[in-house]
Amino acid sequence: MPTPAPLIEMRGITKSFGAVKANEAVDLSVAPGEILGLLGENGAGKTTLMNVLFGAYAPDAGEILIQGQPARISSSADALAAGIGMVHQHFHLAARLTVLENLLIGIPGKSGRIDRAGGLARLAEISRQHGLTLDPSLPVSALSVGEQQRLEIVKALFRGARLLILDEPTAVLAPSEVDGLFSALRSMAAQGLGIIFISHKLNEVRALTHRCTVLRHGRVAGRVDDPANTTSAAMAELMCGHEIVPPARGPSTPGEAVLALDGISTSKHSGTTLRHISLVVRAGEILGIAGVSGNGQRALAEVISGVRAPDAGRMTIAGQNVSRFSPREVQALGLGRIPEDRMTTGLVTNLPLADSMVLPRIGTAAFSARGLLKPDAIRAFAEEQIKAYDIRCPGPMTRAGALSGGNLQKALLARELAFDPKVLIVSQPTRGLDIGAARFIHEKFLDMRAKGCGIIVIGEDLEELLVLCDRIAVMYEGHIAGTLDSADATVARLGLLMTGVEGRG
């Protein structure tokens, strides 16, 4: 879609953090009505570039032109005034306020009063134009993740955005919701808005975008003018600088059950309740748990990890009843876990990486004796794993929070796999990771499977589950809606189970 006057143009943007050049001489432009894909591995500089555009960072060199006019954007307020709206990966919403109130935050009202009627009218207009329906009176806490994202988009449009930046918007959505998002984005583009779409999922990029800019090591590695007719492999190669071959899952030879859940239920604490979950993971098999987020996956992972006690049912590891075991006790029996949210439940970002790497096993003889730590052993363990897993960091004493997502995930993987777990439960193993890092993680899972470990992968990315898993169970509203052999499973069939359309399979 060639258009002469770009809506926005970034020229020669350079931004360094200390010795690291996050962006170097990056050019990027978006025309009205254009959906631009912004691709790159983690650490390639996508986020920095968008933060420069959105006014969070001042570039060291380069300029930003808005409709041909040089613009100075030094705060998000400047960006909003210039018609740039951003939908972050983590939403910025006030949970207790209603949809309408969230839209009106920061909007000057009439003579000091909030203009609710005006807001309602404007919301109705935006909803109608792009099919983005929202109940204005609902509090944000009552919205699903997909609806919250819709609200973020509406919020940007409400403030008059002409350019919309979406940072990995599909990471949190179910397949059916992705379709809805895409049709809304296409409708916006058709009305002359510019859109920057950041994603790791190449099939989505190919389906949606008109043009792509690919970043690698902070520089523009290449541009793709016709994404629909470019192969994912070719794009992946541009991103990584080398060819990527998907891992091959050999035939499965499952052994005995290592983990079994029988009629596990939880009454309503917080979040979704589990209803009579029964499943079995055998040695040497990978079981996928698919489902739209919020259908009980988190509770299931917590029960299996020993963090939450089930109210009914029985859970066994290698035949031993562990229904009432603490996290430390199930771990001692050989359960490894990689939590969904690396930053909040996995690691301690403000402490040295080594501390996070020994956290679950600090009380064991490997890292302490009689209540005294063994600092040398802790350090040596961390150094060994950093080397073995090629975790990019200055050393084991680096603050964990300073590492990139992919390296943190490797660190979490290393800390669990170092102790040869019998059962491994992982949630969203590659969320937010680039192709190279994801590939590495997948290979490790397949290695563990070959060694006879039983693995449960909780995920939303169906393509990933289909590649990785031997069987896939689908969770819907706290129960297992069906389990499919991955040979029989397709995205479409799983999608039906995920939305509760198809019953037990």
């Binding site: 001042a58 100075r72 963090v307 996290p327 430390r328 439940t345 301690v348 403000n350 402490l351 956290l359």
Partner: protein, 351 residues
């Protein structure tokens, strides 16, 4: 135009530079008040320095004053590491003082009395700290508020004690009976007040440092404070860690009271602590919650307190300046801490 930008890492020398920067800023800011009071700034600070650190006697006096603040500073540092917001070191100190005075008044051999005083004082402080910690763990009561308000409860309980059953029937003063002479802490240097409790405080700091840095309990305290969710998922019993931390913190604050009774006042009166519990917060923050840093931070505040009195006598600047310096130092340190997370950048460099 300047703006704040998030830092990716904090250089190690900041740990030393920031408190010094905060102290320098404090002295500069407070020099305005000295000038306002009509005295010479350099002269006043000179008197302060001479009276607090200028000769060996002054140094011992400063150390005697620093001892309780080392204990309360450690108490606060340990608690804050676990994000147990113990603002109640003052009350815990008073409880420790009362308990040790009670024990010290019972006739028994001196060394045994001192040991039991320390145990009783530590236990009393720990028991008081357990209240806000339990309320937080069991009922999610805000620990800042409960530990702070408990200070008044303890203070008035102490007043009731010394105005009531403990009142000196001979003089009628609201003071407790003195402890036995044999229970008085030995003085280490003849002619000074440098007592055994000061050494105990100086030894406690490296011990607590060791506990935080080198033990599994310390590890659990640090992890719980930085990320309770990750701690819970990692198999750490977070509530138990918080309660242990509270016991430790309260015991340390209680020991501050023990030292004041056994080494300085030998009895309990209403003004036994001029706010050492609150000063402990300033000390801990200046030390950036590092137990080793607590010692110099406490000595600095003690020097300000002793120095301010001498300055007041020599120059007529009110001794309240000491409180102003303390408060300003805390604020300056809080501002300085901003630089660990952010850097200042000039904007407008885009060309």
């Amino acid at each position: 135009m300047f703006r704040l930008e998030a830092r990716t890492s904090t250089p190690a020398w900041f740990n030393l530079a920031l408190p010094l920067l905060a102290i320098a800023a404090t002295l500069v800011l407070c020099s305005g008040l000295i000038a306002l009071a009509g005295a010479g700034v350099f002269e006043s600070y000179g008197v302060m320095f001479a009276a607090s650190l200028g000769d060996s006697y002054a140094i011992t006096e400063t150390l005697v004053r620093a001892a309780p603040m080392i204990f309360t500073g450690l108490a606060v540092a340990v608690a804050f590491r676990a994000k147990f917001w113990n603002i109640g070191a003052e009350g815990q100190l008073l409880a420790g003082a009362v308990a040790s005075c009670f024990v010290g008044a019972i006739p028994m051999p001196g060394p045994l009395a001192m040991l039991l005083m320390a145990l009783a004082g530590a236990a009393a402080g720990a028991a008081v700290a357990l209240v806000p910690a339990t309320l937080r763990v069991k009922f999610k009561v805000d620990d800042v508020v409960s530990s702070l308000l408990l200070n008044s409860v303890i203070y008035y309980a102490l007043m009731a004690l010394i105005e009531g059953p403990w009142k000196d029937s001979f003089s009628g003063y609201p003071i407790s009976p003195p402890i036995e002479d044999s229970a008085n802490f030995p003085v280490l240097i003849e002619g000074t007040r440098l007592h055994l409790g000061v050494i105990a405080a100086l030894v406690a700091a490296p011990l607590i440092w060791f506990l935080i840095v080198r033990t599994t309990l310390g590890f659990r305290i640090r992890v719980t404070g930085e990320n309770p969710e990750a701690a819970r998922y990692g198999g750490i019993h977070v509530q138990r860690v918080l309660l242990s931390t509270a016991l430790l913190s309260g015991a340390l604050a209680g020991l501050a009271g023990v030292g004041e009774v056994g080494g300085v006042h030998f009895q309990v009166m209403s003004d036994i602590s001029p706010g050492y519990g609150y000063s402990g917060i300033v000390v801990a923050m200046l030390a950036r919650l590092n137990p080793l840093g607590v010692v110099p931070a406490a000595i600095f505040l003690a020097a300000v307190m002793t120095g301010a009195e001498a300055m007041s006598r020599a120059t007529g600047v009110p001794a309240f300046l000491s409180d102003v310096i303390q408060g300003t130092a805390l604020l300056a340190m809080l501002v300085a801490l901003l630089f660990t997370a952010y850097r200042i950048r000039r904007v407008g460099a885009v060309q």
